[in-house]
Symmetry: C2
Subunit: 309 residues, 2 copies
């Protein structure tokens, strides 16, 4: 079976939403990506870094979902990356209250030998130089390299590195505002075309509650977000989306555009669970029946029977 | 075959977008609704009012699409309703520059005898008292009454009348912000449930470039807007959507939820043409091949093949 390598932050998050607030809980891109991908029962490993303050319990949470955590470096005397944020009432925007990079500031990723030939790799949101370093450690070019990034790395200090890593991946996942910023185009159709020219053959534009678009040459596929009565905490939804996308492609081993459509649906489906509870809570014990049942909802939500002549 | 009655403003519009501006052109809810519905080759008629300044050519434009204009009253010495607006750069919002109600201020709609038994009626955006008066002139309760409205009628002076007309229709089409305002709920799922309790068994929430949702009891269906390289002029897109929805249901005579899904797709499809040119221009000579070809794009955009176990 194919293997999935996940590179991304592992963090403490402290989150405040209109519905409540948390103390420090498990966060960071990598746990969300990995927990989401774990629904496909594939071999996966995280490359990341934490401090000595990182609880053993959080490793267990990941390992119970068969995620290999042995390449998460523990820095002696170091402190784990910390982020805290507060969402506005509509949950569509948030303020960052505090960011402590801590051990993430000097992170030198080391890809374990048994994952240097992983077929699929997700480069979660991180400094582009770290993402590049991971790609360079592969012994075989991965079948599919998926990059997630954000506007922070589009600033002058990082844009060169970001352009370099973008030029070397197959898929980029990016939100709508960031796609506009990166491309200089307002129309998402035009933005995707500009970004495709930068390297990735597939461009996924995430629109949050408004769904996600997959672009490849002249083809476009769209998946809505499941309309929910209440979004409790949007943290990690984008990473959960990326993890579901990568996990499904790893499981099926089929990276055709037609199969990527299915991957986008699985990605949206899994993200719809993530936002139902604080942090990773909902994703930690999601079961197959729940996932299948909600996929059925996605079908009902989007499939129709118009006969064309 | 079933018949479609359309009540709504007929107007002069003057539109400014980042791409250019128009002099007075054909506008108002009714022409957009009727032109869109005309793609289904059904008998339809407009009930409305214009002034003596309304050009014969505009009647012809409608009649060439087999729209019965004989119930558009021409007020001697009167002036046609005039609206002018300017869109912001993102085309998602606009400022109204001028509104002259003119003959619309005293509009007393008269439903022609041969349409008092129309199976489907669209009550386009108008004073709720005018919409109510139309419903009361029917000799037989229509099979499906579809109401379109906007936030202007949710002000204190009109809300009672609006609630009354909402309580008497089967379908309401309303945009997302207006659904929130009318229901007092931010979540669109909750908003639709509140609005359903006000009367209409079917609630359609229009999200512009983010698509449209159809709600009925516990069922939800979603249609995206077609991703376009450029939106040229959004004027009339919502009315075109309503006209496509009503036209397809009139043509098929099937008002089941399953068939309404198809109607929503046809509605989105037709709206995608409307925004490509100024005003009604693109809708005036749209042909069957163009419509069918773009429906195929909608299928590719949204249909997938996940096998569920």
């Amino acid at each position: 079976m194919s293997k999935l390598l996940i590179v991304g932050s592992v963090a403490f998050d402290a989150i405040e939403t209109p519905f409540g607030k948390t103390d420090k809980i498990l966060g960071g891109a990598a746990p969300y990506i990995a927990l989401s991908a774990s629904n496909f029962n594939i071999p996966s490993a995280i490359v990341s870094v934490v401090g000595e303050d990182f609880p053993q319990d959080y490793f267990k949470t990941l390992e119970e979902r068969n995620i290999d955590t042995s390449a998460i470096e523990i820095v002696k005397g170091g402190k784990t990356f910390f982020w805290s944020g507060k969402y506005h009432n509509d949950l569509n925007s948030r303020d960052t209250l505090e960011t402590q990079l801590n051990v993430l500031a000097d992170f030198q990723p080391v890809v374990p030998d048994n994952y240097k030939d992983a077929e699929i790799v997700v480069l979660g949101n991180l400094n582009p130089s770290v993402q590049l370093s991971v790609l360079e450690q592969f012994s075989v070019k991965p079948k599919l390299a998926i990059l997630d990034t954000m506007n922070f790395w589009m600033e002058d200090a990082f844009i060169e590195g970001l352009r370099e890593v973008i030029s070397r991946v197959d898929v980029i996942t990016i939100n709508d505002e960031e796609a506009r910023q990166l491309s200089g185009e307002y129309s998402l159709v035009k933005a995707a075309r500009v970004i495709e020219k930068m390297g990735p053959a597939y461009v996924v534009i995430k629109k949050g509650e408004h769904g996600a678009l997959l672009f490849h040459k002249d083809q476009i596929f769209f998946a809505p977000a499941l309309p929910l009565e209440e979004v409790f905490d949007p943290t990690g939804a984008g990473d959960t989306f990326a993890g579901g996308f990568a996990g499904y492609l790893t499981k099926t081993g089929d990276i055709s555009f037609e199969n990527m459509k299915n991957a986008i649906i699985h990605a949206s489906n899994l993200a719809s669970f993530c936002v139902e509870k604080f942090g990773t809570e909902r994703m930690e014990n999601l079961n197959r029946e729940e996932v299948q049942q909600r996929l059925q909802q996605f079908k009902k939500l989007t499939q129709f029977e118009i006969e064309l002549s």
